[in-house]
Amino acid sequence: MADDSQRFVADHVVSLPRSGIRDFFAIVAAMPQAISLGIGEPDFVTPWHIREAAIFALEKGKTSYTDNLGLIRLRREINTYVEHNFELSYNPDNEILVAVGVSEALDIALRAVLNPGDKVLYHEPCYVSYSPSILLAHAQPIAIGTSAEDQFGINPDAVEAAWEPGCKVLMLNFPTNPTGGVTERAKLERIAKFAIEKDLLVISDEIYSELTFEGEHTSIATLPGMQERTIFLHGFSKAFAMTGFRIGYACGPAPLIEAMMKVHQYSMLCAPILSQEAAIEALKNGGPAVAKMKEQYHRRRDLIVRRFNESGLTCHLPKGSFYAFPSIQSTGMSSMDFCRGLLTEEEVAIVPGTAFGPSGAGFARASFSTSYERIIEATDRIERYVDKVRK
């Protein structure tokens, strides 16, 4: 087939960069024997009682569409859960929308609120979809760098410095993929004040919040004056190990949820009903399973961070998520060279920090969503590789 069909692709899609993670995936896929610490999802299978609820729903013939906003039973459970865990309350009738993962919720939030040319502040390194989602909404992304000195939390001074006229939205994701960084309450309070002063809408992706190992997770939406200017995004993929169910939700002021619902209705229609039924079970009875998984992630984190620091790769303690983000600067190599070399010479896959934005240079992301044995073996090999390249 002639490959000149490229001419049909829209300009703004042509100019979107390919995800760095996909490039790296292509290399790793050719090496099935490698130990991968590159996986951005839980190694646990969804707890059986949640899977069983989806099977039961299928047996009962639940194969229809649902309300565009999602099943009202689920929205009520979401409100109960969010009230209990975040001290936030939303009206299930018009302030909660069930989406196909936080990814969709984020996309429709941006498309619902941005006019072409609006500016969006987001912190970096970050999840790979943030900047492209802003671009796909015909808006302009403005990155705020975060650094190891701040444990990859966001610095309010940097937010203020990055702000410029035309900024409409501030996107936050704490704990952060890929750094595991969190932002302490005092800093969030300053950011909230600034958001109010500049009349910014905050879109807060809190997908890793249950996997906070130190201290209490604080949602910016709970701070004074913030709930009415925050779209709170959350989902089931990480804490409940439900990535394949593709289910998440957005909570926010009714007019914003209504606007998001329009975009959602005309593109996705509704989230799959089986996933919604599974999500109800997860919220009602998933607590003990989540706690058990969290306990294991916690031990794995302590192990991997200790091993990196012993290997001569400085690694801050990620306070949440299942990612460690060690610095590879002591080797003098670029992130990509280090990760490629590690893969070909020691058959261990970690993801170059630059896949998560330019400010990830000098770092790499290692997921500890895998067994102790694999973490021990992988970090032994990394230590050997670091010793070799430093000589």
């Binding site: 590159g38 996986i39 951005g40 031990r299 044995e373």
Partner: protein, 160 residues
């Protein structure tokens, strides 16, 4: 609960050196803790979990409901302990409900278990009756599910 015990209960097979790595302790700390757990009879032993079909284990296993008469001193304890001492008794529990002891017994064949029940168990003074159920197939044992073939994971090796 001790951190070593928690790690053991997670079920991943780790040697002492690996346990030491995971918990950030020295190997001698782990060894000492295991010794303490054993000394205090918290940890009684280790045993592998076999898939009987894969291991081509020909062992016969039966669940036996046993009614016994309680004794003035000690209730069911003396008889339960006595029954538990037989090598062919794998487990023995005092139950609520229509019988007293639930005994899981093993043997090399049906006759072996039948002989144990009729000649050893039922003949003990104080044992009032027994009802023996032979196990036909195992689906799950000690948290491990059998006969679910492991499928190739579709999970990408690297993902965002």
């Amino acid at each position: 609960m001790s951190s070593v015990l928690q790690l053991l209960l997670e079920g991943e097979h780790l040697n002492t050196a690996q346990m030491a790595q995971v918990l950030g302790l020295s190997e001698s700390d782990i060894a000492a803790e295991l010794k303490r757990l054993e000394g205090e009879e918290i940890l009684l032993g280790w045993r592998p979990v076999f898939n009987p079909e894969r291991a081509q284990e020909t062992i016969v296993r039966a669940v036996i409901e046993v009614k016994i008469s309680p004794e003035r001193d000690g209730g069911f304890d003396r008889l339960a302990t006595r029954i538990s001492r037989f090598d062919s008794v794998e487990s023995c529990y005092l139950m609520s409900g229509s019988y007293d002891l639930l005994v899981i017994a093993t043997g090399s064949d049906l006759r072996d278990v039948a002989t144990f029940v009729s000649e050893r168990l039922a003949s003990i003074e104080g044992v009032l009756s027994t009802a023996t159920h032979f196990m036909l197939r195992a689906y799950k044992d000690h948290g491990h599910i059998f006969s679910s073939p492991t499928e190739d994971s579709d999970k990408p090796a690297v993902s965002a």
